[in-house]
Symmetry: C2
Subunit: 376 residues, 2 copies
Amino acid sequence: MEKESLLMLPGPVPMPERVRFAMSRQAINHRSAEFGAVYADCVRVLKTTFGTTNDVFVISGSGTAGMEAAVANFGRDKEIACFVNGKFGERLYKISQRYGKAHEIKSEWGTPLDLAALEAQLEAGAQVVTLVHNETSAGIKNPAAEIGKLARKHDALFVMDGITSVGGDLVETDKWGVDVAIVGSQKCLAAPAGLAAVSVSARAWERLTKNPPYYLDLAAYKKSAAGKPMETPYTPAVPLFLALREACLIVEEEGLANRIARHQKMAKAVRAAAQAWGLSLFPKLDAKHEYATTVTAVSYPDGISDDAVRATIKKLGITIAGGQDHLKGKIFRIGTMGAVSAPEILATLAATQHGLVKAGYKIKGNGVEAAAEVLE
Amino acid sequence: MEKESLLMLPGPVPMPERVRFAMSRQAINHRSAEFGAVYADCVRVLKTTFGTTNDVFVISGSGTAGMEAAVANFGRDKEIACFVNGKFGERLYKISQRYGKAHEIKSEWGTPLDLAALEAQLEAGAQVVTLVHNETSAGIKNPAAEIGKLARKHDALFVMDGITSVGGDLVETDKWGVDVAIVGSQKCLAAPAGLAAVSVSARAWERLTKNPPYYLDLAAYKKSAAGKPMETPYTPAVPLFLALREACLIVEEEGLANRIARHQKMAKAVRAAAQAWGLSLFPKLDAKHEYATTVTAVSYPDGISDDAVRATIKKLGITIAGGQDHLKGKIFRIGTMGAVSAPEILATLAATQHGLVKAGYKIKGNGVEAAAEVLE
């Protein structure tokens, strides 16, 4: 039977039918009231989802384009303190190196960030702080509220990658003092890949670079969004906007609080399964850091082959993620993002349990049952 | 009846059903052999369509992102000679100003470029030449082959925006000496908006900047495309790739020569109609410049209101373009791009004729009949 593998990745994730079929309509003019209304719907819901009254723009490009827009418009030629405890923190650091003077504040992947080191950087003159809220490469959630406070205390701009948290976990852009927040479409919003949304505070606008790139020039986005009809400065990826609108309407219909509670429950179920199996979660936490709500990273026990486990899972029609870069073979990651709920989680955990057993791991207990207990 | 307006714009254009419905499938993993095969199909057909054996990459972003990729990777800190005889030439000039030392070689919109001025710039040390092959804002086709020769003679890189010519008109990237060519998805390829493809010559690679942007870093595209499976460096807009693949397969099935001949015939039909009506085509040509094959720009006679004409056409379910910027109200433009053929052209010309008459213009003759004669 030809059927898509169930993607239980930390993005992309399965899309609801409404979202997918919104893309199949005929081309519409992107300089029209109709498109303007689509864009406005997206922005209205995204503002709620970001927890902000700041400007929000949608960029036709991936989350990485959103990260670069943030750094290029607000970090050029600045001293930038970059938190790194996973792959996406590294990416923000690499982007920052291309635009400003970037200072890495590095922890091992999946371990707590060094907030004292940030204070030192801020005292030494850092003007911008970059953070990945939810580090999917390691399954750790970083203390955005506290970092926001430190940034504000030292009058630095706070750029937060919320690519895999916005829409699936609590994000309070304004309350936390996030000046630029970013989300990707194919994560908790359960829209197709290819769009990023970026919020910009008034404080950030005051510090806008005079030398922005062109495609990611946020002042141009601001000008076009203020037009009637609301527009993007360059041709937008219209089908993706149509899909994102549906995805946003679904978020609105579910209610953000319900959606976050659902995500939290799904992650709790996956953690319960891992624990029941006798496996360790990969992140090392302290009082300030938490397990991610939208992805769970689990360490393989010694001698258990990632390839073997995930091949079995794949045979059962499900795709979960392995580790990236130096974590390849050492962890597996199960995404709990977007439109999925109990059936997908149970199927995934059943397949994972089978994969672990088949690869030679002696499970301590029935993880699927433990998860069902949480999900019920 | 709710039905999409027939878009006879110089992009976006109507998409074949196969292309549209390719987007509605469930999310697939973009780090997979399946996605790699989709990307490879696109690149295979695009190479033929560009007339190149150079590397071709697909970027998740609009044509403007493709233009910026060209300039940012190969024009940074260089002396750049920028031909401008329309809006998109201006855009390439503006982008060039953000990356290098840009020198505008300006003509009135829709009038011939000054090739002698280019020679002077090249002799004065210009290292990069930018050209819009098909200037849709004015309906003029610029002499790319000749400009390529001049660039090569002076060992300058030749960046050509083929956004609205590739796939609908003859483009010979390699024969003309184009080092970087760009196409947009929503033009002659009749795919959805949101992707750009860029070709890069070996000569261009040798002169790659050491300081590229991040999202548009073409070396990263090259590295990922060489992988097994073929990949993009950052998450691609998967549904748009699926659609572009179908659009490319349609180009292959039609055959490029047939497709170009069809586009030429459609433009000829529109020109014949304008002539029959007694209207002037907007571009002022010399022996080296031609009317565009993929869009026809027609000057309004004095006293005829653009708003009135296009409102009538819109009532009849068809959208054509007006003029941009200072040409607003002075010209109308009919796109002849992509999947459209005789029925759409005839309907558009019939509606336009009616719009002109209703707005008070006394047509000289029956343009629809003249077009039918050409199309038959």
